[in-house]
Amino acid sequence: MKKYLSLLLCMALFLSLALAGCGSNGDTAASGSSTAGSSASTSGSSESTASTAAPDKITLQLKWLPQSQFMGYYVAQEKGYYKEQGIDIEILPGGSDIIPEQQVYNGVADIGVTWVSSLMKYQGQGWDLVETAQIFQKSALLLVSKTKAGIKTPADLKGKKVGSWFGGNEYELYAMIESAGLNRDKDLKLVQQDYTMDQLINDEIEAASAMTYNEYGLLLESGIPEAELSKLDMNEHNVAMLEDCLFVNSEWLAKNEDVFVRFLKASIKGWEEACKDPEAAGNIVFNVDKSVSLEHQVYMAKEVAKLVVPEGFDAAKIGYIDNKAIQQTADYALKYGLLTKAADISKCVNSKYWEQAAAK
């Protein structure tokens, strides 16, 4: 008797679960159709997209946490530029253990943001990935030290403790060290840096990696006056390699050319607007993720704008791939032993889609 009772109870439970499942399914289906309806009506009002079909889902993998480094995409999302292009965008934050190249190759994300030198390394190993737009036109990496350490030129790094985040972020640093005639294994001590600037602030290391738009700002915010800091700029010492770019899996691209061009159009529009008004862009990013202060997001937005549209660069050309700079990145990568064989940049890079997207 007891057996039957428990069986009956189980069945009842199962049935109710199944019913509940159906119910929620019905709900989502209903809400799904209602959002589809509303997006159809908005796309109807703007003439840019002819299709009234459901928007294409695109996943973008960032290289790091949601911050103004990626403000263009957030602005485009916030202002509905992706929606205008019939794209339903999902922006995936990065992190210390998230590798954009692997995420995109494995299909977790469709499009990724990474550094060119790091991407070339993957391409050199046979990963079928291709760069399609260059967002940052300049290197933002600095090697920062306190002036009392007396590091004024790369050669002064001899015998010092120098921090890097490694995992693909060390190549410009290697180039700088070796261009000064130093051996990176013997002449100085490379140290793994965490994602704060505490090691430099507490004098545990003498020089630390810092991005102009992030860690350098953290140092200033921590109360160290700019006069007490000296910085080695990769651009000034001719070891600059390109950083944030957009890349995709070639196989995916072949099947999604049209969607990708629309994605680029919306992203470029977002970046244009963000660089015109970094303060507003910083605010938008802050509202997405409040992990750092509003001041820091705005600071970052202003610094990033200088990389995306450097002085003398035509803002209409955001995302332009400068083959000369790419070649330089490839050359340095080879020269300083990051690549074992020369990269064929005609295979690493494809400007075609950017040209289509940038054409007005």
């Binding site: 590798i99 190249e101 692997q102 190759y105 790091s118 390394k121 993957y122 050199g124 190993q125 046979g126 990963w127 921090g163 490694f166 995992g167 693909g168 490379l190 140290v191 793994q192 840096q193 965490d194 090691q199 545990e204 290391i205």
Partner: protein, 257 residues
């Protein structure tokens, strides 16, 4: 003899078969992986051969950190167990605290140790010490207190004092538990040492090698480090097992069937 032969031949042939399937791309087909995502055994072996000196140096660093940390951690754990046995009233509280330490993840411990120790070795040893304390304290305490009732009665009937009971009865009785704890600790100390290196400032050691190489597409090198780490773990475990076989011959678990 045939039994012994069988018991080694079977696992060996399964191991060889696994390597063969791996080499011939069976896993790649099954899991939809490319050789540059998961290198094949020969690729890993040749990469390892080319970088053997560096890999062995890194292995030495990790293993020595793991062993020193395990010795310190196990000693502290054992002392706590002794205190808890001798002074049960308040000593037991120490055990509870130590078990609570066990719940702290390595991710959280590493930055703390980074602040305390300026060297990568100090940080590693610190993390391993904390991780290995609890297993030893709890196991040793059980061994020291979980006595056969009649044996304690017998000691009492001999009018043995607490000191004699401790050295003649409790200490030998806890040996099997101590070795159990050591076997747990030798594996967890390797894991703790490797994971702590992910977050260390030092750029040497197996953990940094695994993380860094896998991040920048040097998969074969990363897997070389994984292979070395696995081998080191197995060798350390075997050493402890061998010592155990000699030290507690009398225990039921060690008797030859």
């Amino acid at each position: 003899m045939t039994d012994k032969l069988k018991s080694t031949l079977w696992p060996l042939s399964i191991g060889v078969l696994t390597l063969l399937i791996w080499q011939l791309g069976g896993f790649h087909a099954l899991l939809d992986l490319k050789p540059f995502q998961l290198p094949v055994p020969t690729g890993i072996a040749s990469t390892l051969a080319q970088n053997l000196t560096k890999a062995l140096r890194d292995c030495g660093i990790t293993v020595s950190g793991a062993i020193v940390g395990m010795i310190i951690g196990s000693s502290i754990g054992f002392l706590i167990a002794v205190v808890a046995t001798v002074f049960p009233k308040w000593g037991y509280g120490g055990l509870t605290v130590v078990s609570a330490f066990n719940a702290i993840p390595i991710v959280a411990l590493s930055p703390i140790m980074n602040r305390w120790f300026s060297t990568g070795m100090g940080q590693k040893i610190g993390v391993v010490t904390v991780v290995t304390m609890a297993a030893m304290a709890i196991n040793a305490y059980r061994g020291l207190t979980d006595l056969k009732p009649f044996s304690l009665d017998l000691m009492k009937s001999y009018a043995a004092n607490r000191r004699t009971v401790f050295f003649r009865l409790r200490l030998p009785n806890c040996l099997p538990s101590v070795f159990t704890a050591l076997k747990i600790n030798i594996t967890s100390s390797m894991i703790a040492a490797i994971v702590s290196e992910y977050f260390a400032t030092s750029t040497s050691g197996l953990g940094f090698g695994i993380k860094d190489n896998l991040r920048k597409a040097e998969m074969a090198m990363g897997w070389s480090y994984i292979t070395i780490a696995a081998l080191a773990g197995i060798v350390l475990y075997l050493i402890i097992s061998m010592v155990e076989r000699r030290a507690v011959k009398w225990h039921a678990s060690q008797r030859i069937k």
